[in-house]
Amino acid sequence: MNLFASQIVDGLADGAIYASLALALVFSYRSTGIVNFAQGEMAMLSAYLVWQLMAWGMPLVPAALVSIVISFIAGALLYATIVKPLSHASLLTVVSVLIGLYLALNSLAGFLWTYTIKALPSLFPKAHLQIGSFAVSAETAGIIAVVGVVLLLLYLLFETTKVGLAMRGAASTPDSAILVGVSVPVMLLIGWGIAAALGALSGILVAPRVFLNPTMMFGVIIYAFAAATLGGFDSVIGAVVGGLLVGVVENLVGTYIPWIGPDLKIIVALILIFGTLLIKPDGLFGRRKVVRL
């Protein structure tokens, strides 16, 4: 029973990381209708940036914050320089450019920091929290707490501030938003910035668990894709619920189904993605797409 409970909690921690990266995907998708294939590589660069700042003598927490801010700016720049000019391009062009970006960023990390793995310290102490007879590592609890707080902040931003309202308007009905004086491009810029910052968060949280290396986000982005698909690519709630679900399911399957085991649990992501797309293509929380003929 204890194993089961701890698998659930570990799953939630993994799920929180997937959720933050899935949210990043959702933010860029909602604002521009593009699945950013390079999101994972951007997150990987953000994690490397933390390492670099620490190598230059900055303490961990400020370094992480600086990296998140720089990632926000980089995400906004990416939108302005590459994504916005593509807004009328064909799907093939968009996908190709993002795949090109993915390949280039991956190699850039290898070029700047080599392919040997590096250790990034965890944000949390190596302690255990004792709740009754049940022990949770501080890292697991910390990840869930940090992502929870960030989600709360995002919720407040979108539901209570004017900027949040404008962003929601720009994403849902750009034409009407322009008419009431919202600068849609600026809102989309902020959307891509937030996406990159969320991605950076996921990268910084996952790096201590898998070590820093240029391919570190492979195992994360695939679950984030699954989470965003399961929840619905245009649903913020869906990304969070999807992320947590994927995290828990992936952990339970890896532990309790010996036929699959830890090596093959990546197949969970494949099954979830194809299953969702075949049975309910809009995901659990996504809005049905209606096409006018």
């Binding site: 799907l91 996908v95 450019v97 795949i99 390949l103 492979f218 194809f274 293509p281």
Partner: protein, 348 residues
């Protein structure tokens, strides 16, 4: 307004072009260049076959696939397992690979119908990421991380060829055959149906194009190409291992298809040369340069020449033919343009 121009070369030019191609492919590549390059050119031909498959499904079918290495892996492992575990003759495994990948492509074509655009790209990408772990998991059959030793097929004793020349000629024959088949598929009514369904589904449906059948069939055909490429790859390298068929191979093939020209079958060979030789040259300079060049080439190609190198070549060729008057029904076209000119001169 675009006018379909059908080039019609004078016989002498055609003979000269054919002779030049024959000299390059039948003499220069197999007999003049160093031996280690010959087997690399065999790999180029195998990649070109897989890229031609992507041309079919992505360029003409309009379905973006980022996971073609999955089908290459299917073909390669079919050959490897039949040869190593069941003692088959390697050449006899090629039709089996082709059939198996055709069936697999048909099965994937069904969800592909429902997965429009981005979702299909995403799904195939994830499929490709899943392939190496699955191959490693069933190690009793696939040899796991160690892979399987297929061995290179030997040249028959009565031919004065070494092993790499022999496999090069096998690849050349199969590539030529599949090129002709693709040319046949992509000419006439089937091409119009494909392009119609790609560019305007509604209009195509009204004209009686069954998009469901067409997409599934295109997918099946394109994975057949990838599967045959995989079989040949296994024979060229003589060895298969799971991590060869990773997501990088899928993306490389995609890069090759775009750089060569996504709707250009002739460009497939250029794309294949690009993904075979560029990483080798680049890694001499820096390990990470290959990926940078790939990513950069993808973006630059789309910005500068969206039709790819092969597509650009074909356009230049058609332009030249028009200038030289080597066009089918040249007189009719001129008459047509005169008629159009006079129509424009009329006062509105």
């Amino acid at each position: 307004m675009s006018v379909v121009v059908k080039p019609k070369l004078p016989l002498a030019v055609r003979v000269a072009a054919a002779a030049m191609l024959a000299v390059v492919f039948l003499y220069v590549i197999p007999f003049v260049i160093p031996s280690y390059l010959v087997s690399q050119f065999a790999t180029v031909l195998a990649f070109a076959i897989a890229i031609a498959g992507i041309n079919l499904v992505t360029g003409f079918g309009g379905a973006i696939t980022l996971g073609h290495a999955a089908f290459v892996a299917l073909g390669a492992y079919t050959t490897a397992i039949l040869v190593v575990r069941y003692g088959w003759n390697p050449y006899a495994t090629i039709p089996v690979s082709a059939a198996l990948s055709w069936v697999a492509g048909w099965c994937l074509g069904f969800p592909a119908l429902r997965l429009q655009g981005l979702y299909l790209a995403l799904g195939t990408l994830v499929l490709s990421i899943t392939v190496p772990p699955v191959l490693k998991r069933f190690d009793g059959f696939t040899g796991g991380v160690q892979g399987l030793n297929v061995g290179n097929p030997e040249a028959p004793a009565f031919l004065p060829l070494d092993d790499s020349q022999w496999i090069y000629f096998i690849c050349l024959v199969i590539a030529a055959l599949l090129y002709v088949v693709a040319r046949r598929i992509l000419s006439g009514p089937l091409r119009r149906a494909l392009v119609g369904a790609r560019d305007n589904q509604l209009v195509a449906a009204v004209m009686g194009v069954d998009r469901a059948k067409l997409t599934t069939a295109t997918f099946a055909m394109s994975s057949l190409y990838a599967g045959v490429a995989g079989s040949l790859y296994a024979m060229i390298v003589g060895f298969v291992s799971p991590d060869t068929f990773n997501v990088m191979m899928s993306l490389s093939l995609f890069v090759g298809a775009v750089v060569g020209g996504i709707t250009s079958l002739n460009g497939a060979i250029i794309g294949a040369m690009f993904i075979q030789f560029v990483p080798i040259w680049a890694s001499d300079i820096d390990v990470s340069l290959g990926g940078l060049v790939f990513g950069g080439a993808l973006i630059v190609t789309l910005v500068v020449i969206p039709v790819g190198i092969g597509g650009l070549g074909e356009r230049v060729f058609i332009w030249l033919c028009t200038r030289l008057g080597w066009v089918e029904g040249a007189r009719a076209t001129r008459a047509g343009s005169e008629a159009m000119g006079s129509a424009q001169n009329e006062p509105a």
